[in-house]
């Protein structure tokens, strides 16, 4: 059952991932990425990360990608012009990527110690409470630094976006 669920989600994730890079229109790419995020969120649930799954949907799919879609709509971005990449990039790129994936998969399968299987409910440290406790005790400093980062990002975004008005 877990395997079937994983396979379904993996097929959705990879299919949407392929769609991201092969669709000519940015809005199709953005929506395919939302599909990937949804599949990954379901996978996080399988891995016991219920809080991170909810955060994935709220922050990534619900906020970041909406922003992307909003900007694409605002700029009325059309289809991407077909440009021919350099000859070596076209012929060497995909095989190199396959090589990369193959090599990492080989290393994972052969050199990693037998890591056991994923069973739903096998790990329950991902609840909102558990995450919150760690976040506000051990990881308090990174948390505060991140909030300052967000503040800087907001100010930066406003400054950048205001420039065009005047």
């Amino acid at each position: 059952m877990d395997t079937i669920l994983f396979l379904i989600l993996a097929v959705i994730a990879v299919g949407c991932g392929i769609n991201v890079i092969f669709q000519k229109h940015p809005i199709s790419s953005a929506l395919s990425l939302v599909g990937v995020m949804g599949a990954l969120a379901a996978m996080y649930l399988q891995l016991g990360g219920e809080f991170i799954a909810a955060a994935q949907i709220i922050v990534y799919a619900g906020a970041v990608m909406v922003l992307f879609v909003f900007v694409i709509m605002l700029l009325n971005a059309g289809k991407e012009r077909r440009t021919s990449p350099r000859i070596w990039a076209r012929w060497a790129g995909p095989p190199l990527l396959f090589l990369f994936v193959g090599a990492v998969a080989y290393v994972l399968e052969s050199f990693l110690p037998p890591s056991g299987d994923v069973r739903f409910g096998g790990f329950d440290g991902g609840s909102a409470q558990a995450i919150g406790v760690r976040l506000f005790t051990q990881y308090l400093l990174p948390f505060e630094v991140t909030s300052i980062l967000i503040l800087i990002a907001i100010v930066g975004a406003i400054v950048l976006a205001r420039k065009e008005i005047d």
Partner: protein, 106 residues
């Protein structure tokens, strides 16, 4: 073909993460639209998050979750600034093609 295991091995999740990461790299390298390039970066970040959560399951610690939480927050900040930059670029040059934004090149 061997029968499917009842429970997927952890390495499958990691391989899926690698595949998604490779797709992200491919999009980043081959696409010419700034927004799509940006989207590919987000895809790579997502792939890395998956491996964090997988290792978190393996080690039975939620540090991986917290780490991917931080990645999400930073990605949100990055999206805000990045999209503001894209807006500015588009206002100044009326293009989203990454090759045409190259005035520093010469």
């Amino acid at each position: 073909m061997p029968p499917l295991p009842a429970e997927p091995p952890l390495t499958w999740y990691l391989i899926l993460s690698v595949v998604l990461f490779a797709l992200g790299i491919a999009g980043f390298l081959f696409r010419r639209n700034i927004i799509t390039v940006f989207i590919s970066i987000e895809l790579m970040l997502n792939a890395v998050n998956l491996s964090f959560v997988t290792f978190s399951y393996k080690l039975k610690q939620n540090d991986g979750h917290i780490f991917s939480f931080f990645v999400m927050v930073v990605a949100a900040a990055e999206a805000a600034v990045g999209l503001a930059i894209i807006l500015t670029v588009f206002k100044n040059r009326q293009t989203l093609e990454i090759d045409e934004v190259s005035s520093l090149k010469n």
